[in-house]
């Protein structure tokens, strides 16, 4: 029983997913669809046309790794062809699109998983497990941050177009919104401040501070930054009436490299490295989880409904930034 996978999009995420599919036994990457022929070629059998790809390779699974504005289109194509679907986050750019995606896959009855991979990162998975076990008592306050420099590696610099990407709020701290909802339950209301919608900073920096009130009464604070020039960093703090959990990626990396660049006397940047054993890479784990659920006929562990709810929180944050008002979700 060898599933056949068609990968849509040969960009950064396409490359990461291709590696995961290739590392899994009994599954074949039979097509890579992307207008950039060379990029697609590097990952697998390259195609530029959907219909040709579909008829020639007859995939069982379609893995959607194109920029956000194209998610809905490819979900609809894959669903109407009866294919199982893995779709990257964010589910889509608008709530209407998300609702359409949910309806489409439900009507077509195709198993669909959303790529909220943070759930598979060991520090986040462990933190959730500890919270579930009561390690902090009743959770009261949670803070997360996700900080990086401005991403210019997307095709046509699409991240810089916040109308397409939703900026740091929709593209990056969406990860946190999903994890927070998974761990602490539904969000009742959202208030946010940020640089979204301010042309002065477009393409240069983006930064947002989002306040969440959970239905449980707990309060969350999420920092999203595309304004930190020096590399990627995440932090997590959970305080409850029975204890506290703290994590800082800058302090937990087991390996730190400060290497002199060849031919120069000056130093490079100190680069932290936090490796895990083979088979424990989060992207591998999420795709493996999808495959296992598919084979067992079980619902996928991260559904389009989950993705829709996380996106809803992010879109509420964007609305709050624009209007200066609280957005109630319940």
């Amino acid at each position: 029983m060898s599933e056949r996978v068609a990968l849509i999009g040969a960009g950064t995420m396409g490359g990461v997913h291709a590696q995961a599919w290739k590392a899994l036994p009994d599954v074949d990457l039979v097509a890579v669809l992307d207008p950039r022929r060379q990029a697609a070629d590097a990952l697998g059998p390259a195609y530029t046309d959907w219909d040709t790809m579909l008829s020639q390779t007859r995939p069982d699974i379609v893995d959607i790794c194109v920029p956000t504005p194209f998610h809905r289109e490819y979900v609809e194509r894959a669903a109407s062809a009866g294919k199982a679907i893995f779709v990257e986050k964010p589910l889509s750019r608008t709530l209407a699109d998300c609702d359409a995606i949910v309806e489409t896959v439900e009507r077509a009855g195709v198993p669909t998983m959303a790529g909220h991979v943070l759930r598979y990162f060991p520090e986040y998975a462990t933190a959730k497990r500890l919270v579930d076990e009561g390690a902090v008592g009743t959770p009261a306050a949670v803070r997360t941050s996700r900080m990086a420099g401005f991403p210019h590696q997307g095709i046509d610099d699409w991240y810089a177009d916040s109308a397409k990407s939703g900026g740091v709020v929709l593209d990056m701290i969406l990860h946190d919104f999903d994890w927070l909802r998974w761990t602490f339950g539904p969000v009742a209301r959202v208030f946010a401040c940020g640089l979204y919608g301010r042309p002065r900073y477009a393409g240069e920096i983006d930064y947002a501070l989002v306040t969440l009130r959970f239905a449980s009464g707990a309060v969350g604070h999420v920092t999203g930054s595309w304004a930190h020039p020096g590399g990627f960093r995440t932090t997590l703090e959970i305080a409850g009436d029975g204890g506290m959990i703290e994590h800082d990626s800058a302090r937990s990396a087991p390996l730190m490299a400060s290497l002199r660049a060849t031919g120069s006397a000056g130093g490079g940047v100190a680069v932290p490295d936090s490796p895990m054993a083979e088979g424990e890479d989060p992207y591998f784990l999420e795709i493996q989880a999808f495959l296992n659920a598919l084979r067992a006929g079980m619902p996928p562990p991260v559904t389009v409904h989950d993705a829709r709810e996380a996106t809803r929180i992010a879109l509420a944050a964007l609305e709050s930034i624009e209007t200066g008002k609280v957005v109630n979700l319940q």
Partner: protein
């Protein structure tokens, strides 16, 4: 510092709790009876927050030259305004004890920000977490830890807050007012979040933390105000503690207050007006939390 008076200024502490480190250029006395206020040049007022207003009023009427009052000045905005006016009328210099202004790391951050190190500041993200202080319990964490962070933000930006949205909760300690407050504050084009919490459990080794992240068009400054400590793990009690080796910020503040008492300029010291501004935001935050919507400040 130069002292123009012929004798050292006498600074009273009410209640009578003297600081451990005493600068040599002032005399420190504990005050048990408010009548003794007539004998001092300046007074530091601490203790139960609902006594602050009465004590400041008494000190002003006793004719002291300067008063350093712990936050909050009073438990109502009107009360705080009345004190500021009373001190102004009597030519008494009123200062607010916001010791974090005297953190050398914060001062360095402020210098760098004002020198343009991070370009145009777009946001500040501040936290103040720590164990509950008994005398502050009745005031709530808004008037205690949050007010201090509001003051730091105002002083850093040189701007006034125009609007605040707050989420408050009582989740850690029984019987107090709110013990956690998360404020989102607009300072013209810049925004700030202030997260004040009495949440460190008995098992947490550190005394608490104050952090600031200042984000601008040119980069980021991250401050962890009390990080200057050693990690000490003890076989005796099986715990880790963090004996601090950083500068004592209270000493810096008291030294500046001694200057104020001596009639010298002390521009870094928070004034009564600064205290009032911070309180305005704290009370607006309280209203916002009740209404579950942003409210205007001032």
């Amino acid at each position: 510092m130069t002292i123009t008076a012929t004798k050292k200024p006498v600074i009273g502490f009410l209640p009578a709790m003297l600081p451990s480190a005493k600068p040599a250029f002032a005399e420190f006395v504990g005050i048990a009876d408010p009548k003794a206020l007539a004998d001092v040049d300046g007074v530091v007022i601490a203790g139960e927050v609902d006594q602050h207003r009465r004590l400041v009023q008494t000190a002003a009427e006793a004719g002291v030259r300067a008063i350093l009052c712990e936050s909050p000045l009073a438990t109502t905005l009107a009360g705080a305004r009345a004190l500021v006016d009373a001190c102004e009328r009597r030519d008494v210099r009123l200062a607010l004890a916001f010791p974090c202004r005297y953190s050398p790391a914060f001062k360095r951050l402020r210098e760098q920000v004002r020198a343009g190190a991070v370009g145009d500041v777009v946001a500040i993200r501040a936290t103040s977490h720590g164990p509950i202080a008994e005398e502050q319990k009745s005031a709530g964490v808004l008037l205690d830890r949050a007010a201090q962070l509001v003051d730091l933000s105002r002083w850093l930006l040189g701007r006034e807050a125009s609007e605040v949205y707050a989420e408050t909760a009582n989740r850690f300690y029984d019987g107090s007012g709110e013990d956690s407050a998360l404020l989102s504050i607009k300072f013209a084009d810049t925004f700030a979040t202030v997260d004040a919490r009495w949440s460190h459990s008995k098992s947490y080794p550190a005394a608490g933390e104050v952090t600031l992240q200042v984000v601008g068009t040119g980069g980021v400054l991250d401050l962890d105000m009390f990080s200057q400590g050693l990690a000490l793990s003890s076989a005796k009690d099986g715990r880790i503690s963090w004996p601090g080796w950083g500068s004592d910020i209270a000493v810096g503040m008291i030294s500046d207050f001694a200057r104020l008492v001596a009639g010298e300029p002390a521009p870094n010291l928070a004034t009564g007006e600064d205290g009032l501004r911070a309180l305005e935001v704290a009370f607006a935050a309280h209203r916002s939390a009740e209404r579950e919507e942003p409210v205007s400040v001032g």
